[in-house]
């Protein structure tokens, strides 16, 4: 039901692989804030197990703690049926010589400790070549259209005037239809910063979005009792 045109960032369907698992906190946070959809794996086997239908969109491999495992994973990524095209390696200063003779295993690297904006910029740049192909990125779901380029939302062809946080929340939900998110997850993924409202802010914004979507469509965002919220139909109930 969701149609996605553009690659790279803002691409919910396409998952980025992150090594190791669990992902280092600062890496996870940067990717979340930049809107990437990712999954942490602990090695080649798990990379196969969790591989999305259309393959991994890219990989962020952190060498710091386990350089051997990291390079083994990079090698396995290149050898897959659908090779992973964008491999970004995070490496500390002492490990720099490890890059020698491994040019084939990565597309770009970034020194740790990294600045979040550098990591974000490198990710964006890695996907730039592809981004040039399809400029427009749209998220569509039964009448709702979000244009991620222009930040504009519409429903049934009518523009939907949203505040910034309403837009961000709706974007996040619409990019992950059918999935249930707890308030805490939404707060950390969508807000990601301290706000006067605290955790209740999520409920307040959901109510505002429902009001703006209008009575007939308010049930697009469903309350899942004692868990959180879900956008659209669950995969299992359809």
């Amino acid at each position: 039901m969701t149609r996605l045109v553009a690659p790279g960032a803002e691409q919910p369907g396409q998952k980025i692989l992150v090594f190791p698992s669990p992902a280092p906190v600062d890496v996870a946070r940067t990717l979340d804030l930049a809107g990437y959809c990712w999954k942490a794996v602990s090695g080649g086997e798990e990379a196969t197990k969790h591989e999305p239908m259309d393959g991994w969109a890219g990989a962020v491999v952190v060498c710091d703690d386990d350089p051997e495992g990291a390079w083994a994973l990079c090698r396995s990524l290149r050898k897959r049926a659908i090779p992973v095209g964008h491999v970004l390696v995070l490496i500390n200063g002492v490990q720099l010589p490890d890059l020698d003779l491994r040019d084939d295993l990565f597309d770009d690297f970034c020194l740790t400790p990294f600045h979040p904006r550098e990591l974000e910029a490198r990710m964006r740049h890695m996907y730039w070549t592809e981004a040039k192909v399809g400029r427009e990125s749209l998220v569509e779901y039964s009448g709702l259209v979000l244009n991620l380029e222009t930040y504009q939302a519409s429903f049934g062809g009518q523009p939907l005037d949203l505040t910034y946080m309403e837009y961000e929340l709706l974007k996040f939900l619409a990019q992950n239809p059918g999935k249930v998110f707890s308030r805490e997850t939404l707060l950390s993924r969508v807000w990601g910063y301290e706000y006067f409202g605290g955790a209740r802010t999520v409920d307040v914004h959901i109510r505002r979005l429902r009001a703006k979507l209008g009575e007939e469509h308010a049930n697009l965002i469903q309350t899942v009792r004692s868990v959180g919220y879900r956008f659209g139909q669950s995969k299992w109930s359809a």
Binding site: T150, Y193, Y195, F196, G197, R208
Partner: protein
């Protein structure tokens, strides 16, 4: 600048461009709670978001200072909203602003900054403050120069029955509010002729103060479009109940309602009880802020469901604080209803002093007085005294006298606003005191 703010700014600028916004209105509030606005062209918007727009504050009530009259309006991108009543010339948008001194530090005459400072103090203790107001107001025929309020319900003003007109006005108002991110919980025609009530869904106090400002603007605007006058004057009609703004208050710690306890018969936590005790002990001190006009005190009289006594009860509408009974299983709905404020107050300042009073109660572990569950209006003074139940201030003058000695209010408002407010309101009282009313002429002119 943090990436989040960058993105917000981009969002606003792109929206201005994509929606062809013709004017952006910068909204802020003076010390008396009047909405102030100046418009800038979309081309200025980027500039305004980066550096703020400077303007001369000396013309704004309560901003004036001898030396530094220039201040900066800094748009809060989070509040950017396209106005739903676009005319044919193109859409307009509004954004609330924080007012800062030219060096970027908060301007202490700005009520919004005052509320933010108080909310930060609460946040340092782990609390977020939530408010849901029930706002009452009247629809009258447009003023004709005599300043006499003519209720719509008094026949002949409209071809349709006035109930239809008023309820369609109210419906249109609610629709507009909802498209402006202000969800409405209930709305109904009040007991009094031409009086209406709209209850808003709870939000954090800063968003709610902004929402109350927007609310008053929208109600008046939509009424005016239909040649009707909407008023938030606390007591426009003698012998008929006035307009209040009951506030449903709650504190949250993370996702938990800090007012809720499963172990208490009223489901009130020790935090809730201390907060309530704080509000009760300081109620008289904060009344000048929550009820800031001469007219406010004509509402706070016995017999009209408005509070007169400083008391609390689970279900007694003659008390100052009511503890509503939440539906079973909805812990998050545990709250206190503070019943004295009226809709003519400055919401930023009113929310600030209410929060400060409640937090003081928590900090110092005040003990909650006994519940007063009988009808206080029917009690004699000596009975009330036995229960040590005090009255709210009887007039603006009384209220100012109590406020003047309150270090709590001075701290919550800051010296600048505290002093200006007292000065301005004493002046208001003086000009009222010398006024000879129709009541006096009717009663005394012939007989004395």
């Amino acid at each position: 600048m943090a990436p989040m703010q960058d993105q917000q700014r981009d969002y606003v600028l792109r929206t201005v461009e994509e929606r062809g916004i013709r004017l952006v209105r910068l909204w802020f509030t003076d010390v008396l709670g009047t909405l102030k606005s100046f418009a800038i062209s979309p081309a200025e918007m980027e500039n305004a978001m980066n550096d703020g727009m400077s303007f001369d504050g000396s013309s704004i009530d309560g901003y004036s200072r001898v030396q530094e009259s220039d201040v900066l309006a800094l748009p809060d991108a989070n509040t950017f909203e396209v106005l739903p009543w676009a005319d044919t010339k193109g859409a307009e948008a509004r954004v609330f602003c924080d007012i800062a001194k030219l060096d970027g530090t908060p301007f202490d005459g700005d009520p919004r900054q005052v509320l933010k400072r108080n909310l930060n103090a609460a946040r340092e203790k782990g609390y977020s403050f939530y408010i849901a107001p029930d706002i009452e107001y009247f629809y009258f025929a447009p003023p004709d120069g005599t300043n006499k309020p003519v209720p719509l319900d008094e026949g002949g003003f409209f071809d349709l029955t006035s109930t239809d007109i008023a309820s369609s006005l109210r419906k249109e108002t609610i629709r507009t509010l909802e498209t402006m991110s202000i969800p409405v919980e209930y709305s109904f025609h009040e007991d009094a002729p031409s009086q209406h009530e709209i209850d808003l869904r709870h939000t954090d106090a800063l968003t709610m103060a902004d929402s109350v400002m927007t609310f008053r603007f929208v109600v008046k605007e939509i009424a005016a479009l239909h040649n009707v006058h909407a008023t938030f004057m606390p007591k426009p009609l003698e012998n008929i109940q006035g307009s209040g703004m009951h506030l449903h208050l709650s504190l949250f710690k993370g996702e938990e309602n800090a007012f809720y306890s499963a172990d208490d018969p009223y489901n009130l936590s020790p935090t809730a009880k201390c907060f309530m005790a704080g509000l009760l002990r300081h109620a008289a001190e904060i009344t000048a802020v929550t009820n800031q006009t001469v007219n406010s005190y004509k509402r706070l009289v016995p017999g009209f469901e408005a509070p007169v006594h400083i008391s609390w009860a689970r279900n007694n509408r003659s008390g100052l604080i009511r503890v509503p009974i939440p539906k079973r299983g909805s812990e998050s709905a545990t709250r206190l209803e503070y019943r004295s404020p009226d809709p003519a107050c400055n919401p930023y300042l009113a929310f600030s002093v209410i929060l400060a009073a409640g937090l003081r109660g928590i900090e110092q572990g005040y003990e909650l007085p006994k519940e007063a569950d009988s009808n206080l209006f029917e009690m004699s003074d000596s009975e009330l005294e036995k229960l040590s139940i005090q009255q709210l201030p009887q007039s603006l003058s009384d209220a100012l006298r109590v406020m003047e000695n309150s270090s709590l209010v001075a701290e919550a408002l800051g010296e600048h606003i505290f002093e200006w407010f007292l000065r301005n309101k004493r002046h208001e009282w003086r000009s009222y005191k010398t006024h000879i009313s129709e009541y006096e002429l009717g009663r005394y002119l012939k007989s004395l």
